[in-house]
């Protein structure tokens, strides 16, 4: 058996009869200019607690659509999506999401933005302040708590968004191409950060990305989707251990395998 990124997941795996996230034969069709477009066709997989799963695929393969369904933003589809056995009916604070654009509210400070996620949590004010401070520290932005989003760089804004997604201690952390809008250097740095943060928080993470290196670097399992219609091409286990070297042969081999499944052949 392959070791997932988070050792905690081993124990829970054994004890769990119900997977943390179960996608059962999910299909979704859109009406675009009168024609039916099959965004997802019969997608099924499950995610265990504490796992880090990446979904990779080219544009149009339905990966973002799938995230929206898991989030509960869209309930018009065929099939089932179950979280801990219960069907998803609406968005909830048990799922935190980091979008590709940071979507910070420009009129709130960094800490204001993180606190906004706690608005419906029902926690007392002192507890909220503590959580906000803790999570800003987690992403390394404590000294920027009072800054406005306009004053923050792209990478910093996205880190605030990550803090906001985590402040509720969600069961699931969903990431929709979170680093896509950033420059290459910041992306690499934030990938390290993400790995560290998810490990610290012991969250179950679902990352959607088109960056294969990113997926291999972060995930325990990679689900490769093919477009038109969106369906699973392959599922790969990543057994590289918690600290991964991007230039190691094992890393590159896995990366090439994923690329091959996507139809991109790497000549070495």
């Amino acid at each position: 058996m392959n070791l997932p990124l988070n050792p905690r997941a081993v124990a829970t795996n054994a004890a769990e009869a119900v997977p943390a996230l179960a996608i059962n034969h999910v299909s979704k069709t859109f009406q675009v200019a009168g024609k039916a477009v099959n965004a997802l066709r019969d997608v099924s997989f499950s995610v265990s607690a504490g796992e880090f799963v990446a979904i990779v695929g080219a544009s149009g393969c339905g990966k973002s659509t799938l995230l929206r369904l898991i989030l509960g933003l869209d309930t018009d589809y065929e099939g089932e999506i179950r979280l801990d056995g219960a069907r998803v009916r609406a968005p909830g604070l048990d799922r935190g999401i980091v979008f590709q654009e940071h979507r910070l509210l420009p009129w709130l400070t960094a800490e204001g933005n993180v606190a906004a996620a706690l608005r419906r949590s029902g926690l007392p004010s002192a507890e909220r302040q503590r959580l906000v401070a803790e999570h800003l520290a987690l992403v390394g932005l404590s000294s920027f708590a009072r800054a406005w989003p306009a004053q923050l760089s792209g990478g910093m804004s996205q880190r605030v968004a990550i803090a906001r997604a985590l402040v509720n201690r969600p069961r699931f952390l969903l990431l929709d191409e979170p680093l896509g809008a950033l420059d290459a250097l910041t992306r690499l740095r934030l990938q390290e950060e993400l790995a560290r943060i998810v490990r610290t928080e012991s969250s179950t993470a679902l990352l959607v990305t088109h960056d294969v290196d990113e997926a291999v670097f972060l995930a325990d399992r990679i689900i490769v989707l093919q477009p038109n219609p969106g369906r699973i091409a392959r599922i790969l286990d990543i057994d590289l251990g918690p600290h991964r070297d991007r230039s190691a042969p094992a890393f590159l081999k896995l990366r090439d395998e994923v690329l091959a499944s996507l139809g991109v052949f790497h000549s070495s």
Partner: protein, 272 residues
């Protein structure tokens, strides 16, 4: 602004650029009006036109002084101002509420939107005869008219601004499980603030137009419009010019104060 100026001069190929310092520009700006005033004054001294047709700038200034100290000038200004403010406060707050309603609720928009758009087709002053018939000509009718003039600009701008809130932020609200009140206070109002302020500024301008117009046409005194009528009746052009100058200055003060408030409210988190 300066970028365009430099680029503009560069396109012209001129070597010199006009002074940038606000004080110098301001002084240069006074040249033409100053020149005109001088010519005007000289024309009066040369008796090019009888005194009652063209009062000299000096006599206008003199009239201003006498009105200020003696007459009912302060009362007139106060009356006009209070009408503007009363009408503005009541009309724009109603407009704000209505705009919020239409912006936030698709149903409300479908129900009331078309009626509102139809209402807006009717020119503002067309309501004066109706209102004067309904209110009988008392002060309430005048305030009602000024209110009416402030309603639409704020309502329209608020409505548009709320609808312009990006779908991504509305999605964010759904994901954070915001209720309607959370959405309004944390996202809708701050996001629409710029548009709301634009509407309020437009309403303020309309409040002046409605006040002066109503005062002029319904022969309402005291008021600046009343002064204009008085000047016309008695053929006292200097009084009319005083009233017009005061209107301009008051309008300028209103516009500047509004711009100041707008900047203070919005600039905090905008940073250029």
């Amino acid at each position: 602004m300066s970028e365009a100026t430099i680029a503009g001069s560069a396109v012209q190929g001129r070597a010199h650029v006009f002074p940038r310092a606000p004080l110098n520009r301001f002084l240069l700006g006074l040249v033409v009006p100053g020149l005109l005033l001088c010519l005007w004054q000289i024309a009066c001294w040369a008796r090019l036109a009888p005194d009652y047709i063209l009062p000299s700038p000096l006599s206008v200034a003199e009239r201003f002084r006498t009105e200020l100290h003696g007459g009912t000038f302060a009362e007139a200004v106060g009356a006009s101002l209070s009408r503007v403010l009363e009408g503005f406060l009541s009309g724009s707050s109603a407009g704000l509420a209505f705009g919020l309603l239409l912006g936030l609720s698709r149903t409300a928009e479908n129900l009331f939107g078309p009626l509102f758009l139809a209402y807006r087709q009717i020119a503002l002053f067309a309501w004066v005869p109706l209102l004067s018939m309904w209110f009988g000509g008392g002060e309430a009718g005048k305030i009602a008219f000024v209110s009416l003039s402030c309603f639409a600009p704020t309502a329209v701008n608020t409505w548009r601004a709320i609808k312009a809130i990006p779908a991504k932020l509305r999605e964010l609200a759904a994901v954070l499980t915001f209720g309607p009140l959370d959405y309004v206070t944390l996202i809708a109002l701050p996001g629409a603030l710029a548009g709301i302020i634009t509407g309020l500024r437009a309403s303020l301008i309309y409040a002046w137009i409605a006040t002066v117009g109503a005062e002029l046409f319904l022969d309402i005194a005291p008021g600046l419009g009343g002064l204009l009528n008085e000047g016309r009746d008695k053929f006292e052009i200097d009084l009319m010019l005083v009233a017009l100058a005061v209107l301009s200055v008051l309008g300028f003060i209103c516009a500047r104060s509004a711009a100041f408030v707008e900047k203070r409210l919005l600039l905090r988190w905008r940073l250029g």
